[in-house]
Symmetry: C2
């Protein structure tokens, strides 16, 4: 049931007077419930409670935290239609997407549960003593990973489930032993509250300390800023715009004690299509990319916003074909009137730059928050001298660049900001000549894809979702996949520690039979 | 041979007009050579050259980089007496320490050479495709780690070899494939130049690209700031004061594209001594700690600057004994007159706080830059209310706190800033009652030690040298040990990539027979 209140731990709280409502973009009307924004006192209460909860939560066994994560998944499923209906009413996204995203959220929670059900993820490392060493004996040292403390997670506008209340950041932080305070997204506060209620139920059922999770509402930047500046908060996860992520990064860096911020921000995800690929299967690629550009109304961080080609007659036909196929897809609903407004504004801004031709424009559509795709094109020379064309147009937009040759194309990649992904569409005969393009992409992105689309981010250990700034604020970590847990932990060493006081993962007899790094070798053995 | 010039890659350069000389604190005279500080043009040249070198260096094989690191070690050894004599003349440290630190430096270089001589360190991860998966096929994704780009390393005042020009930061960055620009320390510029010449020789002998290493002099903050702000620089390593490290952290966070800074800064390294340990072997502990406090004239980041005890008659005797034993050790030379000046000033500042009793004072010593130890004592109640006593007094100083009980002792730990280490001196009969103390320490430090001293940092995979701020600016990494390489790399994924274009570490047939994480399991097998 939606109450419109904040969860401060397991307590529903609404002491403030400011409230907001969510919006149904499909029906173009406000939704029913009002959500009370947290006061600074409520923020403080949530942070202090998380700090208290951390003392117990950090020492829970991995098995217990796995139970907790699996219980969250179960409780989310139990929300059933209420969740799906609230999701669709707050996002304009179709039911199929709601179900798919719920599935992904459940999968993430269960993946992290599996990860921490034994202690291998802590990179346990042992170097035995050598008392005979000269000039000084070598002590016994053993290392594991421990959680940082309370983590603030900012819910994302475009993934109301998978990157919001119980999404990847929350799942990875809870898995590591960090309590989580979610700053709910004001566009889908109802979805957020429902999921929060599921987390609270799961926490109670599995005996987690009160304060292990809180859900805080706020529509402006005041509540978020107060959370990031709170001395009891030890790390931040964010998915959203560059301006939003950078503002949080700056606040965290300005603290008396700076804390890490992992912000996954803007990306236009360059796609290189070789002349051979266009010649051999231009139509197929146009169909595939029309689908990728418009998937989820283009509201994905991995949306292909920049397509790099070599100019020739085939390429010009391809661009026309891509534009026709993209606009042939029926207009789709965007997340919110503000998102639609920014899409139109930013698309117009890029398309009004010198040399840019709108190949397929936004037409007057019947319904107010819906949009078709927009494909624009420009020459490599014009693109190279105007960085305003690098701007992300969040939505179903792509700018196709016609480069005069590979040298120009590579130079364009080298001058891009950091990106989440880089894609190459190429024929087998191209493979041996991709060196310069791959090298340039590698320098600018976190993941390269061959003959595929950047949309669709697998949740698996090998995934990198992150990249050089501003794709993310710290390229040394990934926001997706089980390695995302590494954002919330730090190494901790025990020197000359008696076996009986060591955590089980570091004990001599290796009771959990996990793989450890012992005296320079990986081993499952006792020592 | 010392020239007093900067190395911009393999070119000696001194286009500026500002110079400084180093100082022999033992003889209390300036040394002979003048060192020309880099101009902003020289800084720019070094950064651009590093950027150029990175394009080639990042793709060198691990075997080649191992050769380079081993050649650096060889060339440092070949400097022989000239290096040892320059070191002692610039630091006031004895020859034995110079030899020991050289040995540690060589060991670090060779350890990183061994680490990267195969590709296992890159945490190679493979998730195979599943084309039958519904609703969408699963692509093949493979992940490795790649270097960030040019790294600036700030040489440390207190480790002229092991944490300076070819020290741990440089060795780990070069091992990862990042070019390094060292900002030489103005207190030991001669030692720095000699080691730089060894690195340059090694780079030439092993065919490394010009610009893989530069050595830049500067005595104020201008040169360092210009390096950190340079757009071609991608990460920073620093060991030194909180004010210095924080200034660099702020500069890096303020950049248009922020970069990671790993700064290892202040720590007072709390040591808890139980009443039982004092009763059973107080005299032995006093002897051990008198040695630890005065080792290297106390100029270690892991110097035990804070000793926490429970007040009783034994403890009072112990404090007196510790002070007597510490001051019985002959006065030793400090690194520089400025270091001595700050030691006296900061020791006086802490000792002048309300309730602090100087148990063993600084006496008038015969030689100007020498100092004996200083041991002060204070009650737990006085310490708890005055955070000025938390200040690091860099040198042979320790403040002993007499707590009224364990509760007060734990509260003191909980109120400390982040620390590198926490030590417990305890009897076996204490072990089962250490829970609260260990828990409090774990929250505040990166490494705990039982019945040992915090000084002496092992170079091994299980070491954590870092901790919550301000022990380090990012507690998620260690500055010492082979895992220090993780500071300079980021994950990078290949999706649907043809086997022939993958790096060897990710190829199907696993040509290097390394351990990889394949479909959720660690394996040395082909796939």
């Amino acid at each position: 049931m939606i109450t419109g209140k904040n969860y401060i731990g397991n307590k529903l709280s609404a002491t403030g007077s400011v409230s907001h409502k969510t919006f149904n973009p499909k029906l173009n009307v406000e939704n029913e419930y009002a959500f009370y924004e947290a006061t600074l006192q409520e923020v403080d209460e949530a942070a202090n409670l998380a700090h208290q909860a951390f003392k117990e939560f950090k020492n829970t066994s991995g098995t217990k935290r796995a139970e907790f994560l699996n219980a969250i998944a179960d409780e989310i499923l139990a929300l059933d239609d209420e969740l799906i209906n609230t999701y669709t009413s707050e996002t304009g996204l179709p039911e199929g997407r709601a179900m798919g995203e719920r599935g992904r959220t459940i999968f993430q929670l269960r993946s992290f549960a599996e990860l921490v059900s034994n202690e291998e993820w802590r990179e346990n490392t042992i170097d035995s003593a050598d008392l005979e060493r000269t000039p000084a004996p070598k002590p016994d040292i053993r290392k594991t990973q421990i959680p940082l403390g309370p983590v603030v997670v900012f819910a994302a506008s475009n993934f109301p489930l998978a990157f919001s209340t119980a999404g990847g950041d929350t799942a990875s932080a809870l898995a590591s032993g960090c309590p989580v305070i979610v700053k709910s997204h004001s566009m889908h506060s109802g979805t957020g509250e429902l999921v929060a209620s599921a987390i609270i139920k799961a926490a109670e059922k599995t005996g987690m300390p009160n304060g292990v999770f809180s859900n805080i509402a706020g529509s402006g930047r005041v509540v978020g800023a107060a959370l990031v500046k709170h001395p009891k908060v030890k790390a931040v996860g964010f998915t959203g715009s560059i301006s939003g992520g950078r503002a949080l990064f700056n606040l965290a860096a300005d603290r008396e004690q700076p804390i890490p911020v992992f912000a996954e921000m803007g990306s236009i995800n360059p796609v290189v299509i070789t002349p051979e690929a266009i010649a051999k299967r231009g139509e197929e690629i146009a169909t595939t990319y029309a689908g990728s550009i418009t998937q989820g109304t283009g509201q994905f961080c991995t949306n292909p916003g920049l397509i790099l080609t070599i100019d020739n007659d085939n390429t010009r036909s391809f661009i026309k074909d891509l534009a026709e196929k993209s606009t042939a897809i029926a207009p789709q609903c965007m997340l919110h009137p503000n998102i639609k407004r920014d899409f139109v504004k930013n698309g117009a801004s890029v398309s009004s730059q010198s040399g840019v031709e709108v190949v397929a424009a936004i037409v007057e559509e019947a319904e107010p928050n819906f949009t078709p795709a927009q494909i624009s094109a420009v020459s490599g020379a014009d693109f190279l001298i105007n960085s305003k064309m690098h701007q992300e147009v969040f939505g179903p937009f792509s700018l196709v660049v016609r480069c005069k040759d590979e040298t120009e194309l590579v130079e364009i990649i080298q001058n891009l900001e950091g990106q989440l992904t880089g894609t190459i569409m190429a024929e087998k005969s191209d493979y041996q000549n991709l060196g310069n393009i791959v090298d340039a992409l590698q320098d600018r992105v976190g993941r390269v894809i061959l003959n595929g689309v950047p949309t669709g981010v697998e949740v698996c250990p090998s995934m990198t979702h992150g990249g050089p700034y501003p794709a993310s604020s710290d390229s040394r970590f990934s926001a997706v996949g089980t390695n995302a847990i590494k954002r919330w932990v730090r190494p901790f060493s025990y020197q000359n520690w008696p076996n009986e006081l060591l955590p089980s993962a570091l004990k001599n007899d290796n009771p959990d039979e996990i793989l450890r790094f012992v005296n320079g070798n990986h081993s499952n053995d006792k020592i």
